[in-house]
Amino acid sequence: MSPHNKIDLEPPVLTHLLGLDGVPEPVITEILDTAENFLAVLERPIPKVPSLRGVTVANLFFENSTRTRISFELAEKRLSADTINFSTSGSSVAKGETLLDTVKNIEAMKVDVVVMRHWAAGSSKFLADRIDAKVVNAGDGTHEHPTQGLLDMLTIRRKLGALKGLKVLILGDIAHSRVARSNIFGLLNCGAEVKVCGPATLIPREAESLGVEVIPDLDEGLKWCNVVNVLRLQLERMSQGLIPSLRDYQRRYGLTRLRLEKAAKDIVVMHPGPMNRGVEIDSNVADGPWSVILSQVKHGVAVRMAALFLISGREKDEG
């Protein structure tokens, strides 16, 4: 269904990592397994390998990001890649240069891999069609954020053993969330079940076409799931008239300790960050026994190392 993720199987080779839509389970498993190896590397006294020595990675951030950018930079350093960073704020086109020209100029300096965060859906596909460097999507608008999806899956797998058959509830602003899409595509491709929960104004009308079920009631969702992935509520959704107030949102969809206790079962709580404490998630949940939020951050570095490593096409002898 998704022609834009070009992947050759046997052996699984990632040409680009643009999204998880259409990426088959063996490829995802390969990335996650590789990430496990890198997690071990990260535990070493000197947490660094020479795997990407001589490989140049450009981190292009056309939208504000702190943790994803840092996570990628750290992953690249741990792999001994040479890195350059380019960031520009928001959707500014004041300088008049097109995205394509900007990237072609950077690529001309001999760059092997481009990691790009951009506000426009489809922008990483757009680049991948037009440049020679490998492209890793670090979040394209409201489309996908594949490394976030992968790190969430790694976190779940490490915590609960396997993905197949697991029940994952994604909670919040599904309509505008690239994290939700990458999680949905990746998890479904790996045999997990996914349901989404949130106010009707933040759930796409056609959500079910993605292969997920919509559960309007959070308590029911919690009763059903093994894992709840809580999405960040962008504050601008209020000014867009999609929710009346944070308070009103929190009343029905805020993840509180009370709700988790009412579900009376083991539930793993995840959040891609940054969190609005007291809105979509309460502090005593985020910092409580359910939470694996800081593991997610740690796993992010390993997953990005794995993605960069596999994309670069280097042999595995140096791991």
């Binding site: 834009h4 859906a121 757009f126 608008g141 409201t142 993605l210």
Partner: protein, 467 residues
């Protein structure tokens, strides 16, 4: 004009200047007079001088046309010629060339130029640019000054200089109150209001049809209900004011059903549909190719089917291209940022003929009716008919000619066709209008002294590339 002829020669087209021209052995079809017969047709001094068996002693240029269809000239009532203001995308001349290449002898060009077509001076300027071409250009003037949706344009003066239709196309007239006044005022002038039906508060950031694919691609949706509401609003206003409403590029099944119901109730409204909305769907956007970005957006297969049914049974009156040229540079940006629009003039005939006529979904007569007869009726323009004494306004097309669309070989200045690499059957080989005959070079000409044996006068041109 002479410069343009040189341009024509380079592009694989030949301009015949003879006063006396005969087409031998073509199938003549004119739905207005139930004509469908293989006949010779003679044109003298720009008029149809003779229909029927070719007189043995006739002197003049003969064009062997067996196997071709000759019909009243196609008219595209929805074209963007981009001049003045956006000549890097298209000019009146390049647009005329594209139109002729697609078999059109007339176009109505939309007013979203810079400045907008809202004064007689601009109307006259555009007409002047098209002088001497076999393609008539009828500017559609803006409903509101500058297409700003604030105050009505000076419609009386514009109508006095020959404008028969008003539209703010590119944008809807957002205010219902203003639309009411526009319909009332235009009614007084017997002019038609052509409306791009879009409820802007529902479509604000939408770049593609809202549905499963927009959800998957993470692109902001332009929901069908955004068209449905606007169509209903405008039908209601047309009913209330008695004004003449024409609905541009209808794209949804709901919109088509509203038009059907209104017509059943006897309302005098009309509607058009584009080849792209009949043959392409939103599924084609999965590669984020901005050549598929158009407004209204490509919908779903069911919409295509219902639109086709409505076209076939006359609920939708005509086919219009919404030819909207943009340069590759303008299109080669983030999908969300790319401009809406796709080329249409050069592919309309081939796409509709191949996909709808050859497949038996649309009759050949209804196709010609929708391409040539109905648009002129809607715009109150003189009919083009195949009758002795009538001005020769004809399209000649070869229904068996197979060709492949190549975005790099367009006569338009721009290349943004969504039909690139489509293999089509049916292509225009010539147009006749205003006393001018344009024939593609591969057409056959024969002379009296060789009346039994025809020969190609020109080498087949490999390229129709614009100079």
């Amino acid at each position: 004009m002479s410069n343009f002829r040189i341009n024509l020669q380079q592009t694989g087209w030949h301009c015949l200047t003879d006063e006396r021209i005969a087409f031998i052995g073509a199938r003549l079809i004119d739905p207005q007079i139930n004509l469908d017969a293989v006949q010779d047709i003679i044109i003298e001094s720009g008029r149809i001088a003779h229909i029927g068996k070719f007189p043995a002693n006739w002197q003049g240029e003969r064009i062997k046309a067996a196997g071709n269809i000759i019909c009243p000239g196609f008219f595209d009532m929805h074209t963007h010629l981009r001049e003045p203001g956006f000549e890097h995308k298209e000019s009146v001349l390049s647009g005329c060339l594209a139109a002729a290449a697609g078999g059109f002898t007339g176009v109505a060009c939309m007013p979203n130029t810079d400045p907008a077509i809202d004064t007689p001076g601009i109307v006259q300027f555009i007409r002047q640019q098209a002088e001497g071409q076999p393609v008539e250009v009828h500017p559609v003037a803006a409903v509101t000054k500058g297409r700003k949706g604030e105050v009505l344009s000076e419609m009386v003066e514009l109508a006095e200089c020959g404008v028969t239709a008003f539209s703010d196309d590119g944008s809807p007239v957002a205010s219902a109150g203003l639309m009411r006044r526009a319909m009332e005022y235009a009614k007084m002038l017997k002019a038609v209001i052509i409306e791009h039906c879009e409820e802007p508060t529902l479509t604000a950031n939408g770049v593609m049809h809202e549905g499963a694919f927009s959800t998957r691609l993470g692109l902001p949706g332009w929901p069908s209900v955004g068209e449905e509401l606007a169509v209903q609003r405008n039908i209601s206003l047309a009913g209330y004011t008695g004004g003449r409403l024409h609905i541009a590029h209808i794209s949804t099944r709901a919109g088509a059903e509203l038009v059907r119901r209104a017509k059943q109730e006897g309302m005098n409204i009309t509607a058009e549909v584009t080849p792209q909305h009949l043959t392409l769907t939103c599924e084609m956007l999965t590669g984020y190719d901005s050549d598929f970005k158009v407004n209204p957006p490509l919908r779903e297969t069911e919409d295509c089917e219902i639109l086709l049914q409505a076209l076939a049974d006359g609920v939708i009156d005509c086919i219009a291209t919404d030819h909207a040229p943009h340069t590759d540079d303008e299109k080669a940006v983030e999908f969300i940022r790319a401009p809406f629009g796709m080329l249409g003039l050069e592919t309309a005939l081939g796409v509709i003929y191949t996909k709808l006529v050859l497949s038996g979904k649309l009759s050949l007569t209804r196709f010609i009716d929708a391409m040539s007869v109905k648009p002129r009726q809607i715009l109150n323009l003189p009919a083009a008919t195949i009758a002795v004494g009538a001005p020769a306004n004809l399209t000649i097309f070869d229904p068996n000619l197979k060709w492949t669309v190549d975005r790099n070989k367009m006569n338009s200045k721009s290349h943004n066709t969504p039909f690139h690499s489509w293999e089509l059957t049916g292509r225009a080989v010539g147009v006749v209008n205003r006393g001018i005959v344009w024939m593609i070079k591969q057409a056959l000409l024969c002379y009296p002294e060789q009346s039994e044996v025809s020969r190609p006068l020109f080498q087949m041109s490999a390229s129709l590339r614009s100079a």
